[in-house]
Assembly symmetry: C2
Homo-oligomer: 301 residues x 2
C-alpha cells in the first residue's frame, strides 16, 4: 500500500467551526486562535466568511479578524464568499484563496441557498472569474457528496456532475465533503473517484465530518487513493446542524495523530495544536471534541 | 481491495466494559444487558470474569449473571479466567469459551499480574489444558500489542513472541489488543502480521480501543489484511484506566455502522443495539460513548 509522504491540512475551525456557534465570539479570540494555529504549523487556514450578517452574525467581524491576524509568508488564508457582493467585500482583506460552494444534492441546494445546483454554479461563475483575474486562488467546497439530510444517499454520478460544473466555471481545486458524516470508506472512495473524472488527485481534498465516528477511517481510505489534502477543525469545532448534539468536523488533533502515527508528515506540532484547541474550547466554555486532545490532556494530568 | 463478506463480533461490554465501573451494577441489569445484546444479534458475548472479588468486586456476581441469562443456541458465552481456581469456579456455569490473557509488554505484565510474560503463560498452561479437556474453547487476549502505558511503543517481535507462547500452551485463537488505544493503521497491521506467524488469520481478532479515536481506521486496516473477527463494547463501555476521562473500548455501534456501510454483514440490528446501549448508559447514569448512537438518537429526536 502506498501512502503519501506528506499531507497538507486546511484548518477550517475559525470559519466552518465557529459559524455554528450560537454565541458569537469576540474578534480578539478568533484572531488569537488563528495566531495559535499558524504557530502550531498550520499552513492553510479558512479564516472567515463574507456572508450577510443577517444570516451568519457569527462572521460579521470578518474585516476585523482578517486585519487583526499577523499574516505569515507561506500560510494561505482563505475565506468563504457566497456571491459577488461577498467577494468584493473580501477583496479589501486580501485573502489568498476564496471558497465557493455547491451541493451534490438538489434538495440540499434548494434548502440551503434556495436555488438549483446548476443555478448556484452559474451564480458563482462571475465570482470565480473575478477572483482569478485578481490573482486569488479558488477552491470549491462540494457538500453532501455521500449523503444528504433530505435526500439520503447521494450517487457518485451527482458528485461527478457537480465536479464537472465546478471545473467548468474555473474552480481550481475541490473539497469532497461528507457534510453530515454518514460516509464509510467505500462510499467515500466512490465520491472521490467521481470527482477525479474532472480533477487530478492533487487538487482533491477530503472533508469528512465525524458525526458517526467514521472520519478517520474515511481519511485512511482517501489516503489509499492518493488524496493528500484534508480539512479539519481544531477541537472538532462546529457541531452538526442536522443532528443536534452530535459531532461535526473531524478534529484536527485526531487527524494529525493518525497521520503522524503512519509516518506521514504534516509540519504540525501536535502539542501546540492541543493547546490551541484548549484555548478555543475554554473560550467556548465546553470540553474539546477531540479524542486525542482528551487523551493527551489526561496524560499530562 | 478485498474485504470479508461478513464479520463476527465479540461483545465485551458486560465484562471488559463493566469491570472498570466504580459502582458495581446489580446482576439483574447485567443479565438484561446480555439479553438485549443477544436479541440485537450478537453471537459472541464476553459475560463475566472469575477473578477474586477482592480485586474485581464488579464481577463478584459471576454465577448469578451466568445463571440468569437465557442461553441461546448459536450464541457463544465466554468468561475470563485468571487462573485454575477461577477456571474451576467458571466450570459450574458452563461457559462456551474461556479467555486467558497475556501482555506483549514485560512492564505491563509485571504491574498488572505481578509476573513475567513467560511466567504468566506457564501459569495459564494448566488452565488451557483443563478447558480443552472439558470441551471448552480457549481464546487468548494479548494486551499492549502496539503500545504500553509503561514501556511506550511495543515492537512486533514482542507480539510474535507472545503469540508463540499462546500457541505453545494450546490457546486456539487470539485477540490483538491495542489496550491503550495508541495504535494507528500501519502499527496495528504490523502487530497482526506478527501474530500471523503463529495463528492463521481466521483465528486472529482485532480488539482496538478508541482512546485516540483511531479504532475504526485500525479496523479498516485489519479488514484489509483479512481479519474478520473484532471485539467491541456497546456504548463504548469501559473507560481507559491509563488516561482518566478518556475513552476505552471502541463502541459496538460505531463498528457495526462502519461494517454495514461497507456492505459487510454482521447479523446485528443496529437500532436494537443502540437501544441496548441506551439501556446500559441510563443504568450507569451517563451519556453513551458511541458517536453513532448519539447521532442516531439525535435523529430520532
Amino acid at each position: 500500500m502506498n501512502y503519501p509522504a506528506q499531507v497538507r491540512l486546511v484548518e477550517v475551525g475559525p470559519r466552518d467551526g465557529l459559524q455554528n456557534e450560537k454565541q458569537p465570539l469576540p474578534a480578539a479570540v478568533k484572531i488569537e486562535l488563528v495566531q495559535r494555529l499558524q504557530a502550531a504549523g498550520l499552513r492553510e487556514i479558512e479564516v472567515t466568511s463574507y456572508v450577510s450578517p443577517k444570516w451568519v452574525p457569527q462572521m460579521a467581524d470578518n474585516h476585523q479578524v482578517m486585519a487583526g491576524i499577523e499574516r505569515r509568508t507561506g500560510v494561505r488564508y482563505s475565506v468563504l464568499t457566497p456571491n459577488l457582493k461577498g467577494f468584493e467585500a473580501a477583496l479589501a482583506d486580501r485573502p489568498d484563496e476564496i471558497v465557493v460552494f455547491g451541493a451534490a444534492s438538489e434538495a440540499f441546494s434548494q434548502k440551503n441557498i434556495n436555488c438549483s445546483i446548476a443555478e448556484s454554479m452559474e451564480r458563482f461563475a462571475p465570482v470565480v472569474q473575478a477572483a482569478l483575474a485578481a490573482g486569488i486562488a479558488v477552491r470549491g467546497a462540494m457538500s453532501c457528496t455521500v449523503g444528504c439530510p433530505y435526500e439520503g444517499e447521494i450517487p457518485p454520478e451527482r458528485v461527478e456532475m457537480l465536479a464537472g460544473l465546478m471545473k467548468a466555471i474555473g474552480v481550481q481545486r475541490v473539497d469532497v465533503a461528507d457534510t453530515i458524516g454518514v460516509g464509510t470508506p467505500l462510499k467515500v472512495q466512490r465520491a472521490i473517484e467521481a470527482t477525479c473524472k474532472h480533477y487530478e488527485i492533487d487538487r482533491v481534498s477530503g472533508h469528512f465530518h465525524d458525526t458517526y465516528g467514521q472520519a478517520l477511517s474515511n481519511t485512511l481510505a482517501a489516503l489509499q487513493m492518493g488524496v493528500w489534502n484534508f480539512q479539519s477543525s481544531v477541537a472538532g469545532l462546529g457541531g452538526c446542524p442536522y443532528a443536534k448534539g452530535a459531532t461535526g468536523n473531524v478534529a484536527t488533533e485526531d487527524l494529525v495523530y493518525l497521520l503522524h502515527g503512519m509516518g506521514i508528515a504534516t509540519g504540525i506540532d501536535l502539542d501546540a495544536l492541543v493547546d490551541a484547541g484548549t484555548f478555543i474550547s475554554d473560550a467556548l466554555g465546553r470540553p474539546t471534541g477531540s479524542r486525542v486532545a482528551r487523551a493527551l490532556l489526561a496524560r499530562r494530568g
